[in-house]
Amino acid sequence: MADRTPPTGLSRELIALRAAQELEPGSVVNLGIGLPTLVAGFVDPSDEILFQAENGILGYSGISDSEFDSDLINAGGQPVDLVPGASFFDTADSFAMIRGGHIDAAVLGGLQVSAQGDLANWYVPARGGGSVGGAMDLAVGARKLIVAMAHVTREGESRIVEACNYPLTAERCVDVIVTDLAVIDVTEHGLILRERAPGISEAVVEEWTDAPLIIPDDVPEMSL
């Protein structure tokens, strides 16, 4: 597979925009480090989505342009602005919130997602060591888990696989996969293609997906 050229799909920003569309108005959402942090920039303020940062903030609105305050950051270390009605708490209370099922949705990055919805996103075997952060707790605790990632690695390998060969973050945790090529639902029947990126055909998505993919009739293009 590595000798083929991967198709050009959505930019990182557009993946974030499409992931943002998965969030329900009024819901409580945690954004993982990296691409997912961009999601905060693409929600409609009138939807009153409340962002939780696992370092102890409920109710930040996005990345701040104000003067940097080292005590007011999200889990990615970025400065944030607060909404009226925000609150602070310690890590124990924050993960009680996450693990206890009080977060409606989390958007996490991914290295691999399996056909059963297993997620691998914290450990690159070639690099070792790793950084797990709050990913395992979010994967287990969030009511809906959205993985936002590139569909294919730089080396041309699909990140959507029959079974993960990277170490797992959690088993059977992913609900939706948003990539530069497609939106895919993880269901009890298997992976179902819901939308294609503009200009990307069903066949291309299938070609770059290394797991069985159910393709309904007339899969629409994303509206971005």
């Binding site: 270390g77 124990a92 707790d137």
Partner: protein
């Protein structure tokens, strides 16, 4: 129950022994006891185990690797996923000179809380079916499987708060709480750097983030500016 007030961070950490296990509060730049970390660097203890959310992410914990003071790190973020930037700790870890125990963040805080709260452990789903479950006991209860996570304590905790009083009461600001309040409960010797020492009663009773009985030593310092640029 007075906390001892030290003039300098150096004097507050001077008698920490080699080989100590040190809990370090903070999350990247927030609530991080950077003055105490730098004092520990100047103090030169070796063979230390550091327990912290992160190392090499804008925090100054990585500075302790310059003189190879850390034998082991227990953390949630330690090795960056991308190889474009590397920390001193990463180099020592890769050379087999320093150990790493990676712990999920929600599990790390519960292990510390158990250590401080006299609990023998907690059951969590986090980590089930992953490398984190290796060598750990799994309990099956009413059809659900749970990973048993054991308590974690330190010999010393280094904390950062906004204000402190002579009783040792600490008040945090904004998202400066994070690991600090729980770590305060889980170490034999608790040292806090604060931006300001105030009179008892100036911190309103409902705004005390760490009750004074947990804190042994206080030092007033100008915070070290720290920022992570990803």
């Amino acid at each position: 129950m007075q906390a001892e007030v030290f003039d300098t961070p150096d004097s507050a950490v001077a008698d920490i022994p080699d080989g100590a296990t040190i809990l370090v509060g903070g999350f990247v730049s927030a609530g991080t006891p950077s003055n105490l970390i730098l004092a520990l660097k100047r103090s030169g203890q070796t063979g230390l185990t550091a327990v912290a959310n992160n190392i090499g992410l804008g925090d100054l914990l990585d500075e302790l690797c310059e003189d190879r003071q850390l034998a082991k790190v227990i953390a949630t973020f330690a090795i960056r996923a991308s190889g474009t930037r590397s920390s001193r700790f990463e180099a020592q870890y890769r050379a087999g000179e320093a150990e790493l125990e990676l712990v999920p963040q929600g599990t790390l805080i519960e292990r510390l809380r158990a250590g401080g709260a006299g609990l023998g452990g907690v059951l969590t789903r986090t980590g089930l079916g992953t490398m984190m479950a290796e060598g750990k006991q799994v309990l099956e209860l009413d059809g659900d499987r749970w990973l048993l996570e054991r308590p974690l304590r330190g010999d010393v905790a280094l904390l950062k708060a906004w204000r402190g009083d002579r009783h040792g009461n600490l008040q945090y600001r904004l998202a400066g709480l994070n690991f600090n309040p729980v770590m305060a409960t889980a170490a034999d010797l608790v040292i806090a750097e604060v931006e300001q020492i105030v009179e008892p009663g100036e911190i309103p009773p409902g705004s005390v983030g760490t009750p004074g009985i947990y804190v042994d030593r206080l030092v007033e310092c100008e915070p070290v500016p720290v920022r992570w640029d990803g």
